[in-house]
């Protein structure tokens, strides 16, 4: 090295002398020739220096022109990429020039070290200015050409069912639950992506990326790129109406609000993952595809915060109180998460996204567990729903309505529920074994029931045992039977008219038909046996007396049982006819056998009786005067 420098010095000194000699205007031809020879000689002695000089000159020239370009734009406040089609190209060419200048400088083993250093320094300086500029241009281009969308047109799942939304046991009506939606199958979002950034500028962004990566300014590029895109994704998420709410506030939300937040979430998750994340991933690939690991790193950094917000919402919902209505939403959420799991696994297939994959799998389990706890608690709730007073008129209890509507809504989720339930440990928790064991022993179909059917039967058994308890509250045992008839009949109707029919099978329906008919018979026995037996009484009383007592007893029943209520007209009629058959028949027979009773002692004819029986169970008390032959 020292040698080199010495040679350089000698060369420089010699050149200096030669220059000074040339400067002399009075040189003769001989002298000129001698100097030229000297020059030749000098070049022969130091050939590399000579060549380097030429290279230096050339390199410096190229650098100068590139510097000019860079400095010219440094003073210009408007964007290069907004200034016509040729400008960016020229600028990138200048950057390219600087790079190749640096390459030449680095590759040559030049002798003039100070010159090389000086040129390198200048090149680095120019490069820094250019890179800083490219960073700004990058920011400008991406922000300017961000595309926004109206996500309304996008189809998304919607088998959301509103079960008894905010209603309590006391007020739930059939209609509220019955609006189960059109179709269970989610309208699959076709795996399509959109252009989050105008595709026209993608080559520009890519060119900037290439220039910055080639110049070793990769980190600066990444920071800027990630920063802008992260914010863009955050905005897309807000455009889906998803609002960031603290877990604390979510836990305090009333059901109605939470329910609508969940619906927003369901839609947001699906669109965000399927559409925005997929598109973002594609965008990253378009820009950074050549730098593979960088692309997936950037994508993970860009998207992690937003996806985590969505995940946290899910965790919060799974954590909140397990009200029965929430089950449907939890199942919706679970289903959405299961749906997007493969997408997430694919989007974050690299190691950088491992965390997100793990979190999403964790969330799916939280939601599943929460759904199961909700279902179990619902069953407990059915069992423990205690009444102090008997239900008026022996009608259909709102618990019955609620539970039946609830479980028929659950059939909408039969696929997912079967999946969850088949993996659940079977514990001895199935409710009210008395009812279960009694019927399952000879129920051939129960062994082939789906897990959901098992669970729903268990819920129904819980309901039945609760209703049995409730029926005991009636002072009048007959009304207790009517209550059971009404409620079990309602259950059977509900099963017959819904998907539950397939789950429970005809066998179940037959059995429960039998059940309420048995209760109906019990009713007849309890109410009418003793009255009919008055007529049959072989005791001392004479026919007149019997007739009077019979009519009085009938009037008593009439007064009370016209207030009782069987809402289903068919059922009411059946029970009236059956009562009529027994009672009127017995009465007619009695009158036929006791012709000695004078007409004036016969308060009601058999036909009167038949008509009056039609007033029973209509739920509005009638006075005898009104009804009689009215």
């Amino acid at each position: 090295m020292a040698n080199c420098e010495e040679e350089e010095h000698i060369f420089a000194a010699a050149q200096h002398i030669l220059k000074a000699l040339w400067a002399n205007k009075h040189l003769g031809d001989d002298a000129k020739r001698t100097i030229a020879e000297l020059e030749c000689h000098l070049s022969a002695v130091f050939p590399t220096i000579e060549r380097d000089e030429a290279v230096h000159a050339e390199v410096e020239e190229r650098l100068k022109s590139a510097e000019r370009k860079v400095m010219q734009w440094k003073a210009n406040p408007s964007s290069i990429w907004d200034s016509g089609p040729t400008k960016p190209c020229e600028y990138l060419q200048a950057v390219n020039e600087i790079q190749s200048v640096m390459e030449i400088l680095g590759g040559l083993s030049m002798n003039n070290i100070s010159k090389r250093r000086e040129l390198t320094r200048r090149a680095q300086c120019a490069l820094q200015i250019a890179m800083s500029r490219l960073e700004e241009e990058l920011y400008h281009i991406i922000v300017q050409h961000k595309q926004s969308f109206e996500p309304q047109y996008m189809s998304f799942r919607s088998h959301m069912v509103d079960a008894a939304s905010n209603e309590s046991f006391a007020s739930v009506e059939d209609e509220i639950v019955d609006k189960a939606s059109s179709d269970v199958t989610a309208t699959e979002l076709v795996q399509h992506t959109i252009d989050l950034v105008d595709p026209q500028v993608i080559p520009d962004i890519k060119a900037i990326a290439c220039a910055m990566f080639a110049s070793n300014y990769e980190k600066e590029f990444r920071e800027t790129f990630i920063g802008i895109r992260k914010q863009a994704l955050d905005e897309y998420l807000s455009s889906l109406k998803f609002e960031k709410v603290s877990i604390e506030d979510l836990m305090k939300l009333d059901w109605e609000n939470l329910n609508s937040q969940i619906k927003i979430w369901l839609r947001a998750v699906e669109i965000f993952v399927r559409l925005y994340l997929a598109s973002e991933k594609r965008f990253c690939g378009q820009i950074l595809g050549e730098f593979d690991s960088v692309s997936s790193f950037c994508f993970a950094e860009i998207s992690e915060a937003s996806i985590l917000c969505l995940l946290n919402f899910g965790e919060a919902v799974a954590m909140g109180p397990h009200r029965p209505e929430k089950l449907f939403r939890l199942l919706d959420m679970y289903e959405v998460v299961l749906d997007i799991l493969p997408d997430i696994d694919e989007l974050y297939s690299e190691e950088t996204g491992f965390f997100i994959r793990l979190e999403l799998h964790g969330l799916s389990m939280s939601l599943r567990d929460s759904a199961m706890v909700t279902l179990t608690e619902f069953e407990d709730l059915i069992l423990s729903d205690a009444s102090i007073q008997c239900f008026p008129q022996g009608g259909i209890h709102h618990l019955t309505r609620y539970v039946m509507n609830y479980i028929s809504t659950l059939t909408v989720y039969s696929g997912i529920l079967d999946c969850i339930l088949k993996d659940q440990p079977v514990d001895g928790q199935s409710a009210s074994p008395e009812i279960d064991s009694g019927q399952n022993s000879n129920d051939v179909s129960s062994s082939v029931l789906s897990p959901l059917a098992h669970r729903l039967r268990s819920l129904i058994s819980a309901l039945e045992s609760n209703l049995t308890e409730k029926s005991k509250l009636y002072k009048d045992g007959s009304l207790g039977y009517i209550f059971l008839v009404n409620n079990i009949h309602y259950m059977v109707q509900k099963v017959k008219d819904s998907e539950l029919r397939l789950l429970f099978g005809d066998e179940w329906i037959r059995k429960h038909n039998g059940k309420f008919m048995k209760h109906a018979m019990s009713y007849e026995r309890a109410t009418w046996s003793s009255i009919i037996s008055i007529l049959k009484d072989d005791g001392k009383a004479n026919a007149k007396e019997k007739c009077k007592r019979f009519c009085n007893a009938f009037e008593e029943v009439y007064k009370s049982q016209t207030q009782w209520h069987i809402p289903n007209p068919q059922l009411r009629e059946d029970l009236q006819i059956s009562t009529s058959q027994n009672l009127v028949h017995a009465y007619r027979t009695f009158l036929g056998n006791s012709r000695d009773i004078g007409d004036k002692y016969i308060k009601y004819t058999p036909d009167d009786l038949g008509k009056m029986i039609l007033d029973l169970f209509v739920g509005s008390p009638r006075s005898l005067n009104n009804s009689r032959r009215g």
Binding site: T120, C125, I129, E136, E223, Q231, L308, M319
Partner: protein, 392 residues
């Protein structure tokens, strides 16, 4: 101290004993023993955090590795607490006064912990961004020979670094940065292409929890209804609930003080621990040390007390000075000084690279653990029939 170190024997003992004595009524003695042990373990663990021995110079107070230890301590205490409170517990015991009030309050605190975890975790993200800027500066300043280009490059990165560190919590919120970004775009037509460019296109701390959410307020409300049990209560289950609550609030408070977090003004005044609690002495010591630091820093508006970030800030300022005074080829002495500082900055970057992601994972673990424990306590309460979730 690993999260598993002291647990097995203690937890195993509790569960075995509970199984043995479940049927017996008078296990008060053993309850007291459990409580004593629990308090002792809490005390020991925090003593280890306070001492920060000289032979471990890489673990100063509020450094990344210290915070990671703090997270471990939290997880250990939490596991023991759960054993004391839940394992083999007859549910009716925790549904009686004063626990019927204390447990729900505890559960509310647990929910606040979750939000704080999320906020802090996103704060770790912004520290990671600082690391990235610092790395740019380091690699630029490590170039030999050092030219103006590299010095300018480093200066730019350091400016971004400092603006990330010093910008106030409130400035970091989502809305302002959005506005800034878009006004930049809009002004292009007026020729102001570069004027509004956010400093170093700093990746802002996006609002992760919610609008108007404040870490300081959460800490305050976690603490506001926290009263040390007295008299007969102090020997019952009220005590471990109190101990764990104090641990919870302290750990969250320290995290919020250390790591950038949404809205922290007045943090130092929100939390005190009664001096007479013997098991809390180390915690009180830590609280005072950190509290003083916080008061010093709060006025300046800073990203937090994280040791690495504070050193980064100092180094950043000093290296910016160096960059501003740099004339090629530079004075040997100054170059040497700068090289030392760059090496130090590189060292911090390395420690961040090693520690930040694991710290973030630990914070997430705390999150999940608290969720799980909360669920178990709620289930226990439900079994006791204390928490009714009426359908109405």
């Amino acid at each position: 101290m690993k999260a598993t170190e002291t647990q097995p024997s203690f937890l195993g003992r509790i569960s075995i004993r509970r199984n043995q004595v479940m049927s017996m009524e008078g296990n008060h003695e053993q309850e007291l023993q459990d409580l004593d042990l629990f308090q002792k373990h809490v005390s020991d663990r925090f003593a280890a955090l306070l001492s920060s021995p000289e032979d471990l110079p890489h673990e100063p107070l509020l450094s990344i590795s210290w915070l990671r230890k703090l997270m471990d301590v939290f997880l250990c205490c939490e596991a023991e607490f759960k054993a004391v409170l839940i394992t083999g517990r007859d549910p009716t015991q925790i549904s009686k006064p004063p626990l019927d009030r204390l447990i729900p309050e505890f559960l509310e605190r647990a929910v606040k912990v979750l939000d704080i975890c999320n906020a802090v975790s996103s704060g770790v993200d912004s520290v990671r961004q600082c690391q990235k800027f610092a790395e740019i500066a380091v690699s630029a300043l490590e170039t030999k020979p050092m030219g103006d280009g590299q010095v300018k490059r480093a200066r730019k990165a350091l400016t971004s670094l400092l603006s990330a560190i010093t910008s106030d919590d409130r400035d970091n919120n989502h809305f302002k940065s959005t506005e800034r970004a878009w006004s930049f775009g809009r002004r292009v037509n007026q020729g102001g292409f570069r004027k509004d460019k956010p400093a170093g296109s700093f990746r802002s701390l996006s609002m992760v929890v919610a609008k108007n959410w404040s870490a300081a307020k959460q800490i305050q409300s976690m603490f506001s209804n926290l009263v040390a049990p007295r008299g007969a209560e102090s020997t019952g289950l009220a005590s471990p609930v109190y101990v764990m609550s104090v641990v919870m609030v302290f750990v969250m408070w320290a995290l919020v003080a250390a790591i950038p977090c949404q809205e922290r003004s007045g943090l130092s005044t929100h939390f005190q621990i009664p001096r007479q609690l013997t098991w809390a002495q180390s915690m009180i010591g830590l609280l005072e040390k950190i509290g003083e630091e916080w008061k010093k820093k709060e006025k300046k508006g800073s990203a937090g007390l994280l040791e690495e970030v504070q050193r980064m800030e100092k180094l950043g300022q000093s290296l910016i000075e160096f960059a501003d005074g740099f004339h090629f080829p530079g004075e040997a002495e100054k170059l040497e000084d700068a090289a030392t500082q760059v090496a130090e900055l590189a060292d911090i970057c390395m420690r961040m690279e090693e520690g930040l992601v694991p710290l973030q994972q630990q914070i997430r673990e705390v999150f999940h653990r608290v969720v799980r424990s909360r669920r178990e306590v709620v289930e226990l309460l439900e079994n006791a029939g204390a928490v009714s979730q009426p359908m109405e």
